[in-house]
Symmetry: none
DNA sequence: AATGAATGAGTTTTCATTCAT
DNA sequence: AATGAATGAAAACTCATTCAT
């Protein structure tokens, strides 16, 4: 009846959409050249906009980077909300599979984050270390439980978790870097099963 | 007695020494900020030289980067010359241990290489992919032999190698990135043994 | 009535105008100091612009020079289109007169071209030698015709042409160099007549 | 008997010789690239010396240029001392011939002077205008005399002189610029005769 | 909302010159 | 006397950002 509007007006949504477009374009550019070597001109070209138009949506070049980081930070929460249990072999496989999927679907964003985390401690801590700790905690808990239950040998959970994460990254890194196509769903599944098998059973015959 | 001179005169050596100093300083700077964000002023300050003096030793900023890459490329050959055999468990452990040691001793250089390889395809191919393929080939051969001998289950050697490399990098990466101290010799040995144990035996009780 | 637009939009024309302004300012500077000694700062000051603004219109300092050369190369075509015939004494006078006029009206440009041609073989060949050959050919043909017709003594046309060009330059050079005011129309006419008279009749009484 | 030495000791002469070598090398470089674009490194290389060694013989780069100018200024005096009379046709021919010879023998020096005079008023006035005026005066006097004697038509001596100088330069300029070999003695003689013939008789049949 | 034009601050690089040996 | 090494000053050029429209 009145002029009360929902919190997002059409215009707000329009602005949000444009911001998304810019972020997508920018993360492509950042992924290719790295943040420092990318110019605002590059970003504007990729977004098919005038250079100065960027400044109607973001305060600065760095602000664009930070928005990319924030956006994906929020998104990655979904992985961890999903993975409460991690009770058995199948849950492990599922976790690997799902994680591979998420990484595969956000390649330019994640590539950008990793590049920046490599040189910026704030970015590293806020956007990467936090996440890795979450993941690690999950895996460590699983390992501890299995050790307690006598299923696993008495290994150091922190080390086990670290190695598991290393295996995971060895699978996604080539695609992130752009030297390999992102894995198909079937490939992801196969990898997940193999990794869990290696991890649990080792590779020696018994 | 003789007047024979070594092929390098004192001056040549002096120049080489200065170049080394600049490279060391530059790799610190590149490691901290990344190549693109590092300025020649940064490098000059780190090397305690005037900015223009750099150009008496290198043709350009990029030439400094390339010299860093070249120098370490040569060095890393040592790892592979060492690892002909890889016949048994102990050889595997030794390889891991030695590799960890080399990485730990060249942190700023390797950090610089990896950062640049992340955005530059030439650098990636020339200085990283080549090396990873060498390493991978070594591990694959080992796996194939073990499978043939019935010691290993019939796994995909390429995947096994990839996962093994992932485990290796999970151990050195924090130190490379500067969030962890480089491992002590004892730590390296312990890691090497654990990794090989995981790899061969898995983590489940038998 | 129609919406037909000329191929050049207002903006295109605006850009062209600015480019012209910069070229005019730059040719003044180049004429005064020579290309190598002129700085982009000098040019920017002469054009009343910030130094970096130059680079919105030209790719490099050298690009500015080349634009000056190109522009005047095109212009000088007019002299030669005019001078098809060169049949008689009056046509000769007209050619001298018109040539003096064109040179007088483009002093900084031509001074710049000559200075650069003095040290750059490409510029010499592309922008000067070509033109001189055209002019020379014209004069040689005239001489040959006159010799055939028995009007001229049997002299070497190439030498005659060369000397005629030398006389021409002896008249414009001081103005080009800036040590003499450009000739007035009356002065040009008088020079043209004198030169032709000398050339044809010599200076001895008969 | 005593230790009285001539004003130039052996060492002085040694220094003078080295200075001459440097000047010769420098004028080659200046002739090729122009003063502004030539670097002290270029000069040192051409003189086969270390860059800093130049400064034992000259105070600055500009000082080298000035020495080149001075040296040749002195030399050119010889032309004018020779040409007192200029009484008749043969004297004119002799003057042209001798002048061509001198120019041909000092090409890099003169090329350097002309290039610098093109952009530097001091150099122009001190080293070029002065000389041209001397030459011009000589020719003007000759013309005036011939006019008085009724040999020449009553022409403007200044203009006649100017055109004569123009003819002269049309002959030496290509060699100065390096696009033509310097004229042989025979060539010089032939040119001198032709020019005088043109000048005096014109090119029309009588 | 979009952008062309302009630019200050800074970047890489050059180069004449100095100085210790 | 000769020069290698070092460098301050300045050059060409880049780029994120502002602003008027």
């Amino acid at each position: 009846m009145t002029n009360l509007k929902p919190p997002t007006t059409r215009r707000d949504r329009q602005i949000q959409r444009k911001r998304q477009e810019i972020l997508a374009a920018a993360s492509e550019v950042f992924a290719q050249k790295g943040y420092a070597a990318a110019t605002t001109k590059d970003i504007a070209n990729a977004a098919d906009l005038g250079e100065s138009t960027l400044y109607n949506y973001f305060e600065s070049k760095r602000d664009i980077l930070l928005a990319i980081l924030e956006e994906n930070h929020a998104l990655l929460d979904t992985v961890f909300q999903m993975t409460q249990g991690l009770a058995n072999r199948d849950a492990l496989i599922e976790l690997f599979d799902r994680s591979l999927e998420i990484f595969s679907g956000r390649i330019p964003f994640i590539r950008t984050i990793l590049a920046e985390a490599w040189v910026d401690n704030d970015v590293l801590n806020t956007y990467v270390v936090t996440r890795l700790k979450q993941a690690s905690r999950l895996i460590e808990d699983f390992i501890e439980n299995q050790v307690s239950a006598g299923v696993f040998r008495p290994i150091d959970p922190a080390l086990g978790s670290r190695l598991a994460l290393g295996m995971f990254f060895s699978l996604v890194l080539p695609a992130l870097r752009g030297v390999e196509a992102p894995p198909s769903p079937a490939q992801r599944r196969a990898w997940a099963e193999s990794v869990v098998s290696f991890l649990l059973d080792g590779i020696r015959t018994r």
